[in-house]
């Protein structure tokens, strides 16, 4: 089980946002996509989730090329996790079950997911009354319910309080244990170091480094913190 992104190119007018980016992510692996603002992280995610038309490049899952409908395989949870303001948490689950044609018994799984994410109390809460953390959990629960094998998290920790961050880290780790392929963009280098199995560093649309933190540190002489390493690679 592997997500492969090959030779992705995307430009906006004259600006080349993503320039020949290729990487892969295995099922049960968390990959951190790092880079300064404007490096092309969000553009890569939008292209992968089928919400932006790339100029060129291919996406495949488990060896099979994903076409225009890759949004069914790759789910994006953006920095501003958007839920329907006028649907309750449970109605989001119902809609996902219907739209993804889930087989009988999905209600039990949905209830288990809400309990696992400590959202049973918010079952009947409307989307517009949820905090950012709750909206993220709703989206993750919906994505897991739909059995989407790849999840892209765009800046998931921004705006969350320490407890929310800890909960989300726990959820992401449990998704990894369940075999989900996860790509996470973040500016929080310590978080990335803690949670990611390896990282990819982008700069002005190109990959400048790839590997585990220890590999990258070894390449740069084994000196300094993650921040020093990041600044050196993206300078």
């Amino acid at each position: 089980m592997k997500l492969e992104i090959s030779h992705l190119v995307k430009s906006f007018g004259r600006k080349l946002a993503v320039n020949d980016v290729s990487f892969d992510v295995n099922g049960g692996e968390i990959v951190g996509l790092l880079g300064p603002n404007g490096a092309g992280k969000s553009t890569t995610f939008l292209c992968a989730a089928g919400l932006l038309r790339p100029d060129s490049g291919t996406f495949s899952w488990n060896g099979q090329e994903l076409g225009a409908k890759r949004g069914q395989t790759i789910a994006l949870i953006s920095e501003t996790p958007d839920v329907y303001p006028m649907l309750t948490v449970w109605e989001h689950m119902v809609f996902v079950a219907k739209s993804c044609r889930l087989s009988a018994g999905w209600e039990t799984r949905a209830n288990d997911l809400l309990a696992r994410f400590q959202m049973t109390g918010q079952r009947n809460a409307l989307g517009n009354s949820l905090s950012k953390g709750m909206r993220q959990k709703t989206l993750v629960a919906a994505t897991v319910l739909a059995a989407t094998p790849v999840i892209l998290f765009d800046e998931p920790m921004v705006g969350l309080d320490p407890l929310g961050q800890r909960e989300l880290r726990g959820i992401i780790r449990s998704l990894r244990e369940g075999g989900t392929a996860i790509v996470m963009s973040t500016h929080m280098l310590e978080q990335a170091q803690t949670i990611c199995d390896r990282v990819i560093i982008l700069k002005t649309g190109r990959i400048v480094a790839e590997g585990t933190f220890s590999e990258l540190q070894a390449r740069s002489g084994g000196q300094g913190t993650a921040e020093d390493l990041f600044l050196e690679l993206t300078r």
Binding site: A49, G50, L51, L52, R53, A68, K69, G71, Q72, A75, L76, S78, T80, D82, V83, Y84, P85, M86, L87, T88, E91, H92, V94, F95, V96, K98, S99, C100, R101, L126, G127, N128, L139, A142, T143, A146, T148
Partner: protein
Amino acid sequence: MSDFATLAYLDFRQLLNRVRTILHQPGRLIVYVIAIAYFGFLAWVRRINPHGVSGTTIPVMVPEPYASTILFAFVTLLGVIMYGAASGFLGVFSSTADARFLCGSKLSERAVVTWLQIRRCTSTVIRWLLLLIFYSLLYRRSGGFAALAPTLIAGALLTVATAIPILKLRVVRGRPTAQLLSAAVVAAGLLPLSILLGSVIGPALGPWARNIESIGAGFAVNALFGRNVWGVSAMYAAAFGLLAFSYVVGNDLYPDLYASSIKVLAFRRQRGRLPGVIVGEREYRESNVTAIWFLNRARGAWTIAWKEWIAFVRAPGAQRMFWFGFFASAAVGAVLGSAARHSAHPLETAGVMSSSIANVIVIFITIASSFGLAEDLRKPLWWMGTDTVWSRLFAWVLATSWRLSACLAVGIIAFAGTLGLQLVVIAAIPLAIAIAVTLRSVGLALYALMPSGLDQRGPLAMLRVLLTYLCALPPIAATVVSALVIHSFPFAITAGIIVAIFEALGLITFAAFRVSGRGAAFAQAEAA
């Protein structure tokens, strides 16, 4: 079919929850009750007025060149909407959540695309129906509007239904091709439209206009307005044909629908800060431009005016819309003034036209304007400084009213100038400022009462109309009484303007009282 059922579930549950939310909030419910009572009152007034009831069978017959003008104006509008879709400006997803859930679902993309089209068409039909009901209740000779309903709705459906096919053309053949086709449609409407309107002002274009009239566009318009079954059916068939075509071509469109929807959603967020129809896409460009000299000297609360000016100068879309409104207003003023001058009773005709235009301004601008201050209120920069909330809101009202004032002023000058009413020409600028500032203040006061964006687009639009009419009464009364007592037009118009300005100041005071110390709460309530 199950895909459509799932999509129906999505929209039904959202509607149901929206109604439940309103029912659980007595404050918001009161606004809805007032709006419904207002409609009921108007209906009752129409019912006890025999002219209103009999009016439902009044036939509509539009003379040339205006009949042909209507058709070519429709073609121009169709072309403009097509150009918007060709340029990737098309709001089909209602939110980013809509895009995220629908694009990631296993529903057939064709079904989703068609459903999104149906949703937009339904929304258009409901808006038109409400507008037509509103007109039918408001005017004595209301039957004409009711009779026009099937044709107007068919026309609206037709324009909305072109969006997806044009977007698909953009994807398949490229943006230039789609834009070229749309521009050709605009030109096909705009050229004859200009000649027909020009012939009303200057007789030199008369022979050209007669040639255009001989095409039969005016005959078609009158047939459609007369509810010709074949004609109206053909329009509906065309609209439904385009919807069916959307199903056929509605694959591999998600990225383009998402990109275009994001643009429109950003535009809608900004729209609340701009006056009604004089709005534009805020594609900010980098610029070293500075403000005009007196705004550069702005201090304190007037810095808001400087900020708004800089934002306008850096938004090409807003500028395009402003100049379009400015020239359209001048053209409409000149055409109507000329038509009144050539009528049997110029002054009477001008009076009737003025009141009709005033009604159109009140209804369309107040309904179309949705107010929002959240973009400012949630920014600490807006609250820095020692100026009072009143002075900030006053500066904001003036800073966001000048575009509407300019458009109204040029329209009044063109109208009165063509009729040779010099005193009205002289009074045009203060009159336009008074109208625009009052309209803006009414909107601001109601925003201060109910900031929710949901209410702004719903019953508050109707209440804005009602309050605007109520606010119009004192200035009109002051003008009429002054004219009768002192027999001086300049004095009468000055009295009316002064009363209107005082009203506006009162409304701003009310808004300042409500907003003061609760900026963050307002910003949050607006987003809810």
